[in-house]
């Protein structure tokens, strides 16, 4: 028992990860040393408990969403370039407003984003236990959520990748594009249409997904801003495509000339 305690080798003994000679020596020591017997029993118990841990189920649809997002991205270039060629002005008359219709005040959103960039401390984070927005990961690096704040009837989530900051505004309702400012360009966000504006440091994209209206203020070029927008969880496509309605209206407008 005067031999030094084997210490770290006890776990290796439990794992059968010692050469035969060394294992025999450690085993002989343990047999004659109550302290090491207890220690071996403890680590063996921990080992057993850890190995009995079950697999962990990812959140529903997590991988499916990642894969779907990829498929959209692959097929999206053609869609986006097609609509970009037809770059229509928004503020078109496309029927009566839906109940709960929402028109984000684009300039206010931009203002809110810029103010928070200038303020020395980040805005106070509100508790948002039912928050649906996941962190977004892009080819150029991951944006982490740094704050969640109340904004009007919705929330605003601020992301940062260390260099750039994004503001993602989310509110319930149906996007009413008629009162959006002119000069936007129609883009596709997943299976949903959106309107894109350029500002001096990046892009501002407004779109509808499921029963939510989103606006993203991104200090990033268009492809990246669109990737970010598309990484927001998507609901099913709208029953009647808003994009089709906008297209239909723009065709009518063109015919009218």
């Amino acid at each position: 028992v005067n031999a030094p305690h084997p210490g770290d080798l006890l776990s290796a003994l439990a794992d059968d990860a010692l050469p035969p000679g060394e294992a025999a020596a450690v085993r002989a020591h343990v047999d004659s040393c109550p302290a090491c017997t207890a220690e071996l029993g403890a680590v063996a118990a921990a080992r057993r408990i850890l190995r009995a841990l079950p697999d962990v189920e990812p959140p529903f649809g997590f991988f499916e969403r990642l894969l779907l997002r990829r498929r959209w991205r692959d097929g999206i270039a053609a869609v986006v370039s097609g609509t970009a060629a037809a770059a229509v002005m928004v503020a078109l008359a496309i029927g009566p407003p839906a109940s709960g219709s929402v028109t984000p005040a684009v300039s206010n959103l931009l203002q809110a984003h810029l103010v928070s960039l200038q303020s020395p401390s980040p805005p106070a984070t509100v508790a948002a236990p039912d928050i649906r927005l996941a962190p977004v990961a892009l080819a150029d690096g991951t944006y982490r959520r740094v704050a969640t704040v109340q904004h009007g009837s919705g929330i605003r989530v601020i992301y940062s990748n260390g260099a750039n900051t994004l503001s993602l505004f989310e509110q319930p309702g149906e996007l009413d594009v008629r009162h959006l400012p002119r000069g936007g360009e129609i883009v596709r966000i997943g299976s949903h249409p959106g309107v894109r504006y350029r500002w001096n440091r990046g892009e501002l994209v407004v779109w509808q997904a499921s029963k939510w209206v989103y606006a993203l203020v991104a200090e990033a070029p268009l492809p990246e801003a669109l990737d970010i927008a598309r990484s927001v969880p998507q609901g099913p496509p709208p029953q009647r495509s808003l994009l089709d309605r906008i297209r239909g209206a723009s065709i009518k407008l063109l015919k009218g000339f």
Partner: protein, 168 residues
């Protein structure tokens, strides 16, 4: 990149997603960080950042996952984890009869909470050993540390985990 047996990130997501998620969750201890970590791993797979050696796919994936986790842990300014550290005296358990502990059924959440209390380095070694099932040599290669250090981290990690569970 999809040649020579290197799996695409889509394949990894489709066929090994559950394994990948389990390792990520055991390392990070919560779903939000686990999702971040999984996305980072898929990104590394997609960019071909991690050299693929034909062999155990799970070994390869868990190496990428653990390294991404440790990279992030080093980069972030974290809440300091109570450093139970390198003092060998801490390792010897306080000795309530081991049988008592052995027989107690442990809820996975309790075990995860105890696991999350370990320092990142200890946790990585323990997860690679007891969750993934890698050999000491494979862990040494994955973490780029000597086998002696692997032994030490696994042993101390398990001892601390057991202590934390006894205290609960």
């Amino acid at each position: 990149m999809a040649t020579g047996g290197v799996p695409s990130w889509e394949q990894v997501a489709r066929e090994h997603g559950r394994f990948l998620y389990t390792v990520a969750y055991r390392l990070t201890g919560n779903h939000e960080d686990a999702q971040d970590l999984v996305q980072e791993v898929l990104l590394r797979v997609r960019r071909g950042l991690a050299t693929y050696r034909p062999g155990s796919l799970h070994g390869w994936l868990s190496r990428i996952t653990t390294n991404a986790f440790l990279d992030d842990a080093r980069r972030r300014t974290r809440r300091p984890v109570v450093p139970l550290g390198d003092d060998p005296d801490r390792v010897t358990p306080p000795a309530p009869e081991p049988e008592h502990v052995l027989d107690m059924e442990r809820l996975p959440d309790d075990v995860q909470a105890a696991l999350s209390q370990l320092s990142e380095d200890f946790r990585a070694a323990v997860v690679l050993c007891d969750v993934v099932g890698l050999s000491y040599e494979e862990i040494a290669a994955a973490l780029d540390i000597p086998v002696g250090t692997v032994r030490s981290r696994i042993h101390r990690g398990r001892a601390q985990l057991r202590e934390a569970l006894v205290d609960r």
